[in-house]
Amino acid sequence: MNTFEWIGKIFSEYWNEFLRGMGNTLIMALTGTAIGFLIGLAVAIVRTIPLTENDSKFKRVSKKIIDVILTAYVEIIRGTPMLVQALIIHYGFFVSLNMHPLISAIIIISFNTGAYMAEIVRGGIISVDKGQVEGAHAIGMNHWQTMTNVILPQAIRNIMPSIGNEFVVNIKDSSVLSVISITELMFISKQAGGAYAQFVPSYLICALIYLILTFTITRILRLLEKKMEGGSSYMICGSQSDPDAQIRVVKEKDNG
C-alpha cells in the first residue's frame, strides 16, 4: 500500500478516535486559554497596584514579596518548555494525587498560559493612555474602580488579537501533553500509527486536522475582531509564538 492508501485505511478505522482526540485537544486548549487568561488578569492587576508613602510598612513589604513571587512565576514559565513543565508537574505532583489526566493537562496549560497572559495583559494596561487613569482618579475612583471600569475594558479590547493567538498556540502546543498520556490528537495519532507501524500516514492525518482547526479558528477570530473594532483600535504583539517580542503598540489610538 502507498501512503495515500494507508491514510485512507488508518482514518477509516480510527476516525472516531481521531475525533475524540480532536475534542480533547479543543477542550484542553479552550479551557486552558480561558483559565490562563483569568490567571494573567489577576497577576497583572496585582502587579499594577500602586504603592504610596501613605501605605503601611506591612502592606509595602507584602506587596514586594508577592511581586517577586509573581515575577518568578512569569519568568520561570516563559523560560522553560511546556513539555518539561508538564513532566515535572504531572509526575512530580499529579500522579501521586491520582489526578484525572485531562484535569491535570488543563491545569498545566492554564498555568503555562497564565504566565504569557500576564505579560499580554500588562502590555494591554500599559497601552491605555495615562490620561484615562488620571481622568478616573481625579473624579474620585480608587485603584480597583479605575481598573475595572476604565482601564481593563480598554486593555482587554486591545489585546483580543493576542488572546486569540494564545488559543491557536495552545491548540498546537497541547500536543506535547501526549507524553503524559492524555488522549488528545497527538496521542491518538501515535497509537493509530503504531497499530500498523505506519507513523507517517497517521501523522499526516494529525497535521491535517491541526491545520483545519487552526485555520478555521483563526478566520473566526479575525471576523470577531472586525466586528469589535471601533473607531480606534490597535493591536499588541508579543505572545507565546514569539516570546521575545517586545510588546509593541502597532497602531496608536487617538486621545479621548
Partner: protein, 244 residues
C-alpha cells in the same frame, strides 16, 4: 461673608533636583474665579495637580475647609469628588459613551442609583449644550464637544471647586468659544474655579482674581485690572507684552 474654601500654605514640589514649586501661598474664597497665568514651565499645572493630589507636594500644606488634605487619614477619594478637575486633554473614558461618562462615576464613587445619576447627568449635559450627542463615543466628538462633556462629567459629581488646566489649549480656534462660554456661565453660578489659562480675555472679563506665576512662585496677584492692566512686577510686564 467670605468663606475660605482652599488654602495653600508654603506649598513646594520638586521632581528630583528640579524645584518646580518653591513657596506657594494662596487663599481661595468660596465663589472666587481665579485665573492662573504664567509662561510655560512656571509650574501652573503642577500647582493645580497638587491641589487634586495627582502630584504629592514635597512641602507645605493644603487645607480644604480648614482640613489638611495631606494627612494620612484624609479621605482622598471623597475630597476629589468635591474638587473636580478638567484637563487639557479631556480624558473622557474611551470605553464609554458621553452619557455613561457622566453617569458611571456618580454610581461608582457616590453610590447614586442609576436613575438618579442619569437624571443629574442629563441635566448637566443639557447645560453644556450637548444633549444631541448623549450616545456618542468620545472618538466621535470634536475637541470642544469632548471638553464640554468632560465639564458635565465633573459637574455631575456636584463639586464645590473645579480646577481647569488649560481647558481650551488643545482645541481648534473655532471651538475655544463654546467651551469658554460654558465656563463663563459656570462662573456666574457661584462655583469656585481655579483656571490655568492662556485666554487673556477670560482672565480679564470673567475671573475675580488673577495670579501670575513665575519660576515656581506667585510673582503677582490681584484683581484683573491691577495684574493685567497695571502690573507692578517687571516679570508680569514682560509676560504680558508677549501674550497680549
Amino acid at each position: 461673608m467670605a468663606e475660605t474654601i482652599l488654602e495653600l500654605k508654603h506649598l513646594a514640589k520638586s521632581f528630583g533636583e528640579n524645584k518646580v514649586l518653591k513657596d506657594i501661598s494662596l487663599t481661595v474664597e468660596k465663589g472666587e474665579v481665579i485665573s492662573i497665568i504664567g509662561s510655560s514651565g512656571s509650574g501652573k499645572s503642577t500647582m493645580l495637580r497638587c491641589v487634586n493630589l495627582l502630584e504629592r507636594p514635597t512641602g507645605g500644606e493644603i487645607l480644604f475647609k480648614g482640613e489638611n488634605i495631606l494627612e494620612k487619614k484624609f479621605n482622598l477619594n471623597a475630597y476629589r469628588t468635591k474638587v473636580g478637575m478638567v484637563f487639557q486633554s479631556f480624558n473622557l473614558y474611551n470605553n464609554m459613551t458621553a452619557f455613561e461618562n457622566c453617569v458611571k462615576p456618580q454610581m461608582i464613587v457616590l453610590k447614586r442609583s442609576r436613575k438618579e445619576a442619569e437624571e443629574i447627568a442629563r441635566n448637566f449635559i443639557e447645560k453644556v449644550g450637548m444633549s444631541a450627542y448623549i450616545n456618542a463615543k468620545p472618538s466621535q466628538l470634536s475637541g470642544g464637544q469632548k471638553q464640554r462633556i468632560a465639564i458635565a462629567r465633573t459637574l455631575s459629581m456636584n463639586p464645590e471647586v473645579i480646577l481647569f488646566d488649560e481647558p481650551t489649549s488643545a482645541l481648534d480656534p473655532e471651538m475655544v468659544g463654546e467651551v469658554l462660554q460654558v465656563m463663563k456661565d459656570l462662573a456666574s453660578t457661584g462655583l469656585t474655579m481655579l483656571v490655568v489659562t492662556h485666554e487673556m480675555g477670560f482672565a480679564k472679563n470673567v475671573s475675580s482674581r488673577v495670579v501670575f506665576m513665575d519660576e515656581g512662585v506667585i510673582a503677582e496677584e490681584g484683581t484683573p485690572e491691577t495684574v493685567l492692566v497695571n502690573p507692578q512686577n517687571q516679570r508680569t510686564k514682560e509676560f504680558l507684552s508677549k501674550v497680549l
